[in-house]
């Protein structure tokens, strides 16, 4: 996402957003005093479009659009370094996680390939009950239009006999599928209650 030049604060700020994030994450966003420790500790600051402390700041300013379309929230690896060191006891990783969930709910996901990978992963779990890496990688590669991702590794992995060629099917996979279905039903009900 392009960096904004002038932020017309009233025009772009959504005050309800702060509350949404606080509810979803259980964290008090106003406690952040912008020390930057999260960004200092985050191994991914260099690939983020907005470093973690700026994400926090943007939330404080109610900048829903910028935050939910940011790449940063999808590049966060949930490593907890920020959470462990935040002097204000904010679980920053939890905030990032909640932002990913909100971003998905609001259909604003920017990290398309990451989301794609996650989606393929979950599809396999839903179908077989377990993940099946041999299937996952090429599937992901094709859909993300990066067919050669990790192709260099594939022969070595197969040589070590580490990738099974047949997916393991869990006996209770119907139950696992049921979990997904009930979860989706629950979500759409929650959606309706809100709307």
């Amino acid at each position: 996402m392009e960096r904004v030049h002038t932020l017309a604060i009233q025009a772009t700020s959504d005050p309800r957003f702060i509350g949404e994030v606080e509810r979803a994450s259980g964290q008090q966003i106003s406690h952040c005093y912008q020390c930057g420790n999260c960004s200092a500790s985050c191994a991914y600051t260099y690939v983020y479009d907005y470093p973690a402390n700026q994400i926090m700041r943007l939330v404080q300013l109610g900048q829903k659009d910028i935050v939910l379309t940011s790449k940063a929230i999808w590049l966060c690896a949930a490593c907890q370094a920020c959470t462990t060191r935040c002097p204000c006891n904010i679980d920053v990783a939890k905030v990032m996680e909640s932002l990913r969930v909100l971003s998905r709910q609001e259909k604003k996901v920017s990290g398309r390939d990451i989301q794609l990978f996650y989606d393929e992963f979950l599809k396999l779990v839903k179908r077989f009950g377990r993940v099946f890496e041999t299937g996952l990688l090429p599937l992901f590669g094709m859909k993300a239009k990066k067919p050669f991702t990790d192709m260099d590794l594939a022969p070595r992995v197969i040589r070590k006999g580490k990738l099974g060629l047949i997916p393991h099917k869990v006996k209770g996979r119907k139950h696992v599928e049921g979990i997904f279905e009930r979860f989706e039903a629950y979500c759409s009900r929650r959606e309706k209650d809100k709307g």
Binding site: G36, A40, C42, P51, Q54, R85, P87, N89
Partner: protein, 652 residues
Amino acid sequence: MRIGVFVCQCGTNIAGTVDTEAVARRAMEYADVVYATSYVYTCSEPGQQEIQRRIKEMNLQGVVVAACSPRMHEPTFRRAVERAGLNRYMFEMANIREHVSWISTDKEANTRKAMELVHMAVAKLRFNQPLFSSKVPINKRVLIIGAGVAGIQAALDCSDGGLDVVLVEKNPSIGGKMAQLDKTFPTIDCSSCILGPKMVDISQKENVTLHACSEVESVSGYVGNFKVQIRKKATYVNWNACTGCGECVRKCPSRKAPDPFNEHLATARAINIPFPQAIPKKAAINRDYCLHFTKGKCGVCKKICPVNAIDYDMQDELVSEEVGAIIVATGFDLFDHSVYGEYGGGRYPDVISGLQYERILSASGPFGGHIRRPSNGREPRDIVFIACVGSRDASVGRPYCSGVCCMYIAKQAILTRDHLPDSNCYVFYMDIRSPGKNYDEFVRRAQEEYGVQYIRGRVGKIYPRGDRMVVQGADTLLGIQVEVEADLVVLATGVEASAGAGELAEKLRISYDQYGFYMESHPKLRPVETNTAGVFLAGACQGPKDIPASVAQGSAAAAKVQALFARDAIETDPQVALVNERTCVGCLKCIMVCPFGAIQSKTLRDGSIKAEVLASVCQGCGLCNATCPPKAIQLQHATDNQILAELNILCA
């Protein structure tokens, strides 16, 4: 009784959310009220005159002022009614500001509440009795606990005013933290050059009794007449004899004793004089390291001492002192940074505290004033300072700002660039707090003249790479992560309450906040007083403070003591317990509960036993009153009848 009611508007402070006129009108309906009005600023000069005028005009016998907290102006108004000829206890206050107008904007509810509070005050006042205080003589000696710069200043000011001073210091020497500092901001004066003469003064004043290596054991009594027990810890050296020649120190074979004065960057001998300018300059033995005590051999110091001062059999000694006032100046301790795992948790020798760096900079320090790395003794080239370590950090339970560290790292960076012109200094900070006179200019100079790099952001992690340290932080102004390779990292470790502050407070019966800093009586208007009469505060024991502020408070506390001692006697508070001998059954339960030993038993001529209160000892807590089965002992001005009268209003 003829009662007058004055409802204060306090400008709009009260009138904004309370209908003061209506409160006054309603007051006219209460029993015995013959006059009621609302007034704009009751505590102002005209306001007080108005009260006095009405007392005379209306022949009032009691007055109620409904205004701010009685903790604020009760004494003001008591004096006012007294000037008009009433007894000062024929007065009551209703708090309709702090407890009403400021906590809710619901004008109707507030007004109703104010009316009830006024009604309660009137109801109580109807049972008030004139009370008269007696006078007790003041013991014009002052005890000062803690001999850092604040305590020293207070002691010198009191001594100059002709008072006898008892100064108690727990360390072997006076001087406190300031004695450990190299130079001082914002002028870069040499710390020991400006503190040294004051320390010497202390030792030369005839009216100052110094107890070093001593702590307060217990305190009893009350303003004007405290009794204090002081424990003088055994030093195993007879200080009356010791001349401080240092012969013993040079010859002592036990060289690995801790050296707290040098913040453990060096070691000391088992027998030691903490630093050359120490006052008193006397040797003391650390028995945990002395071979005589640990192994039963050696005895070198005893053999060598030219004045035969060594005394291995010395015991702690308890001395009693009687004083009329107490100044507490116990200062602060430094936050222990080992809780910061991300900064190495104290494992890295080249990651040090601010005070350790002062010792490194100091000519009397472990490296003779040459800046060296503790790990290998080499001169550092890149030095990183990190602000707010153990301050402004809720995750380590220290959310407050330590106030002095922004300034001391600016000072240390300047001194570093002075000592080592080829060095590079970096400061990681969140905000720069430099509000004193010439303070911000000082910090600007560090940046403009001395080229210190200030980086706005906190540090996430410090780790060794090779023999250097990598400081990984953020520059939030740029929005990126930054790394600095450093030879030495100085943590601006924050200020916390001194060890044992809580226990001392309990002995003195003064309050402290959740961090252990002592509570002043009023944050703006009574900054060096406590809630216990006769006990005053000075310096960093009350909260983080720099030297100018500590000295100012030392002088202020001394002035308060002088004002107290300007009188020969003080009036006792007549709000004490009183026994009704007719109803007292002599069970003596009251004696058991009185925390101050203020009640004794006496036998009447008919042989019956009765309780008797020593008015000068009673502190007016009312425990006895609540305990007494036949309610024979009553706390004046808070009797059962008075409190029940207030409650009756609310039960109506």
